[in-house]
Symmetry: C2
């Protein structure tokens, strides 16, 4: 293994100088640096991260923790997040992707292994883990879910505004009687989306159909069940459009319509939330509200790196990213 020592000898300088040549901000003559870098390249020197980390106390690893990797849901979300994470990641950092549920040894997996933690949270269940990280003093950013603790750097999407935009669009297409299949009861996202729904109902003077407002759980399976219940309502109680808590729910709902011989959007309209990949190829393709996962991930990593580097980050001023309406085929014009 070729070390800094070998480079130093060949370049006729000290180890320190070689070290400086490799560290951007160090004071060193440009010519010396160039010479050292050339020699290092020639003999194939690569810095040893263990040695470097031992003295700098850094690991050059960011731990990314997802709510759950095993659930079949939100998989395109998952890879979209990772892709954007890498786009914003400094070159010499590694990303360690983990499942919060399988962190059996916090010390082994987190405490001594990563410089910072980015939680891509989808569920209140993550709070325990989040507070464990917070209290251990490791730099922390939580994205994708609203966290009420203002001491935690948090980047979420404005689900309220997103849902409101979506329902405004539905209203603009002439719908009056609308239903909803909500997300998991109690989740911040479910509450905010419901509030966006209510707000639009008021401002557009819509008629929410009580019997067609159901509690779901963000899964396709439940989406299908709840939609079947809605379709079983007497004709005069049917809504003309059902707002789904997320795209997975909408896809289940779509399937319920299919099984009951109900045509979307001819007989009934549907709208989702998230804009997962399958929304663009489903039958019919799904009008939905695109969750800005890429932006959240990018900003999250940026903030996290800043916190790690000891820079001042305005944590209290939490970021809310605006979702965007994606019009496709599932909402009819009445």
């Amino acid at each position: 293994m070729v070390t800094i020592k070998d480079v130093a000898r060949l370049a006729g300088v000290s180890m320190t100088t070689v070290s400086r040549a490799f560290n951007e901000k160090a004071i060193i003559k440009a010519e010396t640096r160039k010479n050292i870098l050339a020699i290092a390249d020639k003999i194939g020197y690569v810095p040893n991260f263990n040695a470097r980390g031992l003295v700098t106390k850094k690991k050059f690893i960011i731990g990314v923790f997802f709510s759950s990797l095993h659930d079949g849901t939100s998989t395109s979300f998952f890879s979209a997040a990772i892709g954007s994470l890498y786009d914003a990641l400094p070159d010499n950092y590694l990303l360690s992707i983990n499942d919060i549920k399988r962190v059996n040894s916090f010390e082994q997996l987190v405490q001594n292994r990563v410089d910072g933690v980015l939680v891509v949270s989808q569920s209140d269940d993550d709070d325990e883990f989040i507070y464990q990280v917070k209290s251990s003093g490791i730099p922390l950013v939580v994205i994708n879910r609203y966290i009420s603790d203002r001491e935690i750097c948090n980047i979420a999407s404005d689900d309220f505004a997103g849902l409101k935009d979506g329902v405004d669009y539905i209203a603009s297409r002439g719908h009056k009687r609308i239903g909803m299949i909500e997300g998991i009861a109690g989740f911040t996202s479910s509450v905010q989306r419901r509030q966006g729904f209510d707000q639009s109902v008021i401002s557009n003077n819509l008629t929410p159909v009580e019997a067609a407002i159901k509690i779901g759980d963000y899964s396709s399976k439940t989406g299908q069940e709840k939609m079947a219940e809605i379709l079983a309502l007497p004709k005069e109680q049917q809504p003309t459009c059902v707002v789904c808590g997320n795209d997975d729910t909408a896809i289940g709902a779509l399937r319920a319509c299919y099984l009951n011989g109900v045509k979307v959007p001819d007989d009934i309209s549907l709208i989702g939330f998230d804009d997962i990949f399958y929304s663009s190829v489903s039958i019919p393709s799904l009008t939905t509200i695109r969750k800005p996962i890429g932006q959240m991930a990018g900003l999250g990593i940026k903030d996290l790196i800043a916190i790690i580097n000891g820079e001042k980050v305005d944590i209290a001023n939490r970021v809310k990213i605006q979702p965007q309406l994606v019009v496709r085929e599932s909402v009819a014009k009445l």
Copy 2:
């Protein structure tokens, strides 16, 4: 930061003894170990991986490299793979998930950072990277795609047998005239799947419809285009079933049928390959062949760890895992 030194002092032993207490295979009196571990736990000692790695020359990180994280395709595949990877991973290892396409500095990201590399390969494009790893002497396992180089530890699925089983099933449902939308031309997986198709055609005495055999590229978009071409054929040239190179292709094909008012499976049947999550909720749900990604990932990590530990792994005896037919709604009984 509490170190091994602190534990040693409190336990009244040397650093060496404490180190031994933490290393399973070391010679140490059971009572001494127990005592040391208790004290370490009490004062919150956690081994420093950088220091440990510096002397043992290990990083306790496995690099996992995917063909592409950015393509919208095969995302459930992606998370299924990662989940299974973790199931088989020793406790103190970290997984660094990467995109082959964004490895701009091999030295920075691979050479000095990971103990071994697991490539989840989906494309011939990966070969350059694979050979770079191989020639740098880093322990390597390639899964999910057949590699002809017998010096590389390789675990793939038996796509030939999988496709054959699928077409046998189609034949058993009474289909005679069948078409196909193949994968990317030249890819080993495409070739093997085509061969499985041909084999079943012969043994079941089926009639492949020349005009309905298309070259695709494993994407939904192309699947949709090619299926539209097939549907545009004159009535007497129409196949009763189209075999799709993968589920994404099938989902595109499904959409082409929908847009042309053709009912699946009433008017025409479809079968996919992979068993991605959306196959189970598509309209209609997709009969497909399940690719054993979990098994491949598990075996892959197991072999890789063995290679890293210097154990003898029978590389030449490559593993082929059998895919499994998943019957759903998209193939009609004639």
